[in-house]
């Protein structure tokens, strides 16, 4: 029983990174009604860019690395917007989808090329801290990952619900044409959404690197599928849904890893998705009637 709770809590803490990735997918979907399949790859790419700081200032504290990953993620998000969305006509969803897939492969290959395909170590904070409650332990680095992720989500929700930009973003996601008529610059809002999701992605990538200890290009595919699964389970376009689904998937997969081993774990996550599709196709927080 202790094993169960131990792996559940570790999984839920790590799941906060899935939640961040899921939010990125869901926000872009909400605003543009398009999928950005390169998002997880760009997030990992942002995390790699954070490592560049260590090349310039050897021995820079991890916080600086995380912050650079955050900024680089934002920049990558803007680049993805420019290359895959800006110039392609909005009436052609297939072309944008394919372009983001192309971007996914490109980012992946750039990483493989620059690191010769080898995993690289990632700095972590509080990795020597262990909170103990009898037999039950909480890893300090996972707790830090969870705290940072929650902070980012809080920041995002504040941005969405307290600022004019957030108001504009929500307006575009509810009714693009009406938003346009109200004088909102839809193109600008779209670009800003990509930058914001990119920032989140960068920090998510850094957090994953920090809690796993290494980064490798092999991370992108599972992260893409997990992020998308989180998005579907949470309900496409719903930010709170993505948060809860991320924690749920993280806990679920870690418990199954405990009992069924690491190779079978992801198979059960897929099964969870299909269970949701059959019994609750709209996800946990399906938007009321507004789905296209």
């Amino acid at each position: 029983m202790l094993d169960f709770f131990q792996s559940l809590s570790d999984g839920v803490l790590f799941g906060s990174t899935y939640a961040l990735i899921g939010i990125g997918f869901t926000l872009v979907f909400g605003v543009m009604h398009k999928l950005n399949l390169s998002y997880a790859a760009a997030s990992v790419g942002g995390a790699y860019c954070g490592l560049l700081v260590l090349q310039v200032f050897a021995g820079a504290p991890p916080v600086v690395v995380f912050f650079c990953a955050f900024l680089a993620g934002g920049l990558l998000g803007w680049l993805v917007y420019l290359t895959c969305f800006h110039f392609i006509p909005i009436s052609n969803p297939l072309a944008t989808l394919m372009a983001t897939v192309g971007m996914l492969l490109l980012i992946d290959e750039i990483i493989v090329h620059l690191t010769a395909g080898m995993p690289v170590g990632y700095p972590a904070m509080f990795d020597d801290v262990m909170l103990r409650m009898g037999e039950f332990t909480v890893r300090g680095d996972l707790l830090m990952v969870f705290a940072v992720s929650m902070l980012c989500m809080g920041g995002l929700l504040a941005l969405l619900y307290k600022t004019r930009l957030g108001l504009a973003t929500r307006a575009v996601s509810q009714q693009t044409v009406a938003a346009l008529l109200c004088g909102i610059r839809v193109g600008q809002v779209n670009a800003m959404t990509f930058v914001i999701t990119g920032l989140l992605g960068g920090i998510a990538g850094a957090m994953i690197g920090a809690s796993v200890g290494t980064l490798s290009p092999l991370l992108t595919t599972p992260l893409t599928t997990k992020g998308l699964i989180v998005t579907v389970i949470g309900g496409l376009g719903s930010v709170p849904g993505a948060i809860i689904a991320g924690l749920l998937v993280g806990g679920f997969e870690n418990v199954l890893q405990q009992y069924r081993g690491v190779t079978e774990r992801d198979l059960y996550v897929m099964l969870l998705l299909f269970v949701f599709l059959v019994f609750r196709p709209g996800g946990l927080f399906a938007p009321k009637g507004g789905r296209d």
Binding site: L35, I88, A99, L104, I110
Partner: protein, 301 residues
């Protein structure tokens, strides 16, 4: 010469998987599950010829049928959700199939050697072609017979009522529904046919490479499958063929001298192609122009 025959084999199989995505795309659905159906076909055909001792044709038929059955089974729950949700679901399904074969062990001792799929090791020794003395050219011709058949079938669909129905659903679901088309039936049937073609392609693939493993059926293959019809354009089946030749013949083989940089170029070229020609190489105006050039009758388009 064998090198070119080998290349033609690869192009043939990739055209098949491209065609399987093409027919699904006609209904406006984006499926990343084609690599999954392809994997099912590959493992089934391989197991039937190696373990059960079947001949190649019945084994391929079985892989096509199983591909169709799996596609149909996936289609029903998956097509309850629309558009972009389907991308996610099919992506997850494809990864699920890959992970299934990653964990799949079924080995039988035959003549002192253990044969059959073995998890991450993959499935070695699918030696039907060499054992029966087929040359590379025989295999290539064999593959292209199937490619031609599949293309002819889809070309004929495009000229029949069924093709019009597929495109009607793809263009505007609401309008198609309001003229009395059963959306689920149309989409699931397209998915099933696509699954059959992908299963067939997988069966052939297993036999010409003689060694299959789960890693070959990942998201990259699913992307290739989608890339061919989208790059080639949905106007005609020949677009898919053209794109498969371009990608496999030029980008993958022709640019081999670039080494690692080739892979970088591939992603960048997709991004570029989609920006420059969002409707593919053979889009409607180009097709019309080609028709004028060759047939003179442009009114039929």
């Amino acid at each position: 010469m064998d090198f070119y025959f080998g290349l033609a084999q690869i192009i043939g199989v990739h055209t098949l998987i491209g065609l399987s995505a093409y027919i699904v795309l006609l209904t406006g659905q984006v499926s990343l599950a084609q690599a999954g159906f392809f994997a099912v076909g590959a493992y089934v055909a391989g197991m039937l010829t190696v373990l059960a001792g079947w001949a190649i044709l019945p084994a391929l038929a079985a892989s096509a049928v199983l591909g169709a059955v799996v596609a149909c089974a996936v289609g029903f729950p998956a097509l309850r959700v629309k558009g972009l949700m389907l991308v996610i679901v099919t992506l997850a399904f494809g990864e699920g199939v890959r992970l299934f074969f990653f964990n799949f062990d079924y080995q039988v001792a035959k003549g002192g050697v253990k044969l059959g799929p073995l998890g991450s090791e993959g499935f070695r020794q699918i030696r039907y072609f060499p054992e029966n003395g087929w040359t590379t050219m025989d295999v290539m011709l064999f593959i292209w017979v199937f490619v031609t058949l599949a293309m002819a079938l889809l070309w004929w669909f495009d000229r029949s009522r069924y093709g019009a129905v597929l495109r009607a659903v793809g263009e505007d679901e609401l309008a198609a529904q309001s003229v009395g088309l059963n959306l689920t039936a149309v989409k699931v049937s397209a998915m099933t046919i696509g699954g059959a073609i992908a299963g067939l392609g997988g069966g052939i693939y297993a036999h010409y490479t003689t060694h299959i493993e789960h890693a070959s059926f990942g998201i990259l293959l699913a992307t290739f499958a989608l890339a061919y019809p989208i790059l080639g354009g949905l106007g005609s089946v020949f677009g898919t063929l053209l794109a498969a030749m371009f990608v496999q013949g030029f980008l993958v083989e022709g640019l081999r001298f670039l080494g690692d940089w080739r892979n970088l170029l591939f992603g960048a070229l997709i991004v570029l192609a989609m920006n420059v020609r969002p409707k593919g190489f053979l889009d409607a105006p180009t097709l019309l122009g080609l028709k004028r050039l060759f047939g003179g009758k442009s009114g039929a388009a």
